[in-house]
C-alpha cells in the first residue's frame, strides 16, 4: 500500500478519466520535442514535469520522432500502439491483455481472502484492472507490476467494503455469539502451550490453514482484521470504513485474533501426535 501511495497509484485510480488523457505522455513528448510544452495538452503539472524522463525512456526504445533542427515533424514508422507498448515495456509493464493470465489468480486470491464473496472478489479484480489500465502512465517501475496492481486492488476492496457497510445497518454489533474463553475476565481454562519448529509458520500447509481460519471469521471481524492487521490500514480509516468506534475496532480485532488462535489450536497445534508428524 505504501508503494501504491508513493507512486500515486491511488490518486490515479481515483480519477481514471483524468489520467486516460495523459496515457501517451511518452508519445506526446516524443512527437512535440523536449522543449515544447504544447505537447502537454491536459495542463497537468505532473505529466508536464514528467516528459523529460518519458522522452528519455522513449528514446531508449524507439527512434526520435522529430527533427529538431528545422522543427518539422516527420513520420517515424512506428504506430501509436507500438510506442505505447514500448514505453510500457521500458517501465516493466506487460501488455494489459496478459494481465488476466499473469496476475488474475493472485489478485483473485488476494481479494477472496479479504471478502467472502467470490462474485465480489471477481468484481474487485475487474475494477482494479480497469483502473490500472486507465492509470498505467503513473506506473514508474519502482515496484513490480503485481505489487502495483495489488495496491490498486487493495483500495478497490476498501471502497467496496465501505459501500457495503453503507448499504447495511449503520451500527456494527461486536457481540457476536462467540463462545467465550473467559469467565468474568478470567481464563476458563488455561491456553495450550504452542511449540513451533523451524519454518513451520512459512510452510504452505500452515499458511493454507491460517487462510481458511481467516476465511471462517464472521463478517465484521474479518473485515476489521483484514484491514487493520493484514493490510495495515490506519485505525481511523478502518473505523470510518466499517463505521465503528476505536474501542469497537479493537474489540473486533481482538476477537478475530482469539478466534484465529482457537482455530489454529484446533487445526494445527491441538494434536501433539499430528504436530510431531509435521515436524
Amino acid at each position: 500500500m505504501e508503494s501504491a501511495r508513493m507512486h500515486g497509484t491511488n490518486e490515479a485510480a481515483a480519477r481514471p478519466l483524468a489520467v486516460v488523457g495523459v496515457n501517451n505522455g511518452c508519445l506526446i513528448a516524443a512527437i512535440f520535442g523536449r522543449n515544447s510544452r504544447a505537447g502537454v495538452p491536459f495542463g497537468d503539472a505532473k505529466s508536464a514535469g514528467r516528459d523529460y524522463n518519458q522522452l528519455a525512456e522513449c528514446n531508449a526504445v524507439s527512434e526520435p520522432a522529430i527533427d529538431n533542427r528545422d522543427g518539422t515533424r516527420r513520420k517515424t514508422g512506428i504506430s501509436a500502439r507500438d510506442a505505447d507498448k514500448a514505453s510500457d515495456a521500458a517501465r516493466g509493464l506487460s501488455d494489459p491483455a496478459r494481465w488476466v493470465e499473469l496476475h488474475g489468480d493472485a489478485m483473485y486470491r488476494f481479494a477472496l481472502l479479504r471478502i467472502s464473496s467470490a462474485e465480489l472478489a471477481e468484481d474487485a479484480v475487474q475494477e482494479a484492472m480497469l483502473a490500472a489500465l486507465a492509470a498505467r502512465s503513473t506506473f514508474d517501475g519502482r515496484s513490480s507490476e503485481r505489487t502495483w496492481l495489488i495496491g490498486i486492488l487493495r483500495y478497490k476492496l476498501i471502497d467496496l467494503l465501505r459501500k457495503r457497510r453503507k448499504d447495511r445497518e449503520r451500527s456494527v454489533s461486536v457481540d457476536s455469539n462467540q463462545e467465550s474463553l473467559f469467565d468474568d475476565g478470567i481464563w476458563i481454562r488455561r491456553p495450550d502451550d504452542w511449540h513451533v519448529a523451524g519454518s513451520t509458520l512459512e510452510s504452505e500447509e500452515f499458511q493454507r490453514i491460517l487462510g481458511e481460519c481467516v476465511g471462517a471469521l464472521p463478517s465484521p471481524m474479518r473485515e476489521a482484521f483484514c484491514l487493520r492487521v493484514l493490510d495495515d490500514v490506519p485505525s481511523d480509516e478502518v473505523c470510518k470504513c466499517l463505521d465503528v468506534s476505536s474501542t469497537n475496532l479493537w474489540t473486533l480485532v481482538h476477537r478475530a485474533k482469539l478466534r484465529l488462535r482457537v482455530c489454529l489450536g484446533r487445526r494445527w497445534f491441538g494434536n501433539d501426535e499430528e504436530r510431531s508428524k509435521r515436524g
Partner: protein, 100 residues
C-alpha cells in the same frame, strides 16, 4: 493516580490479552504497558497466551508477505470470469485508443 493504580492492580486476563494483541499494531500507554507486564508476571495462563499471540503475529506477517500470491486461499479465477475479464480489458483498451 489512584485510578491508574487501581487499573494496574485489577487488570484481568481478558483485558491483558486484548492489550497484548493490540500491542503489535498500536503503541500502548505507559499505564497499559505496566498493567499488562505486571499481570503477566503473576499469571501463567497469560504468559502462555502471550506466546500464542507472538506466534500468531509471526504467522500473520508471513501471510501478509505472501498476500500477492497467497497459498492461503486455494482458488483461482474461474474460467468464465477469466474470459469475461479479458474481454472487458480488451474492450476498454480499444475504446481508450479510439479516444486518444
Amino acid at each position: 493516580m489512584f485510578g491508574k493504580l487501581w487499573y494496574i492492580l485489577t487488570l484481568r486476563c481478558e483485558e491483558a490479552d486484548r492489550l497484548r494483541s493490540q500491542q503489535a499494531l498500536e503503541p500502548l500507554t505507559r499505564v497499559e504497558r505496566v498493567a499488562m507486564s505486571a499481570h503477566q508476571l503473576v499469571c501463567k495462563s497469560c504468559r502462555i497466551a502471550a506466546n500464542q499471540i507472538r506466534i500468531l503475529d509471526e504467522a500473520i506477517a508471513h501471510l501478509r508477505d505472501e498476500s500477492s500470491a497467497t497459498p492461503a486461499v486455494d482458488a483461482g479465477l474461474p474460467a468464465d470470469a477469466r474470459d469475461r475479464l479479458a474481454r472487458t480489458l480488451r474492450d476498454a483498451e480499444n475504446s481508450q485508443k479510439k479516444n486518444e
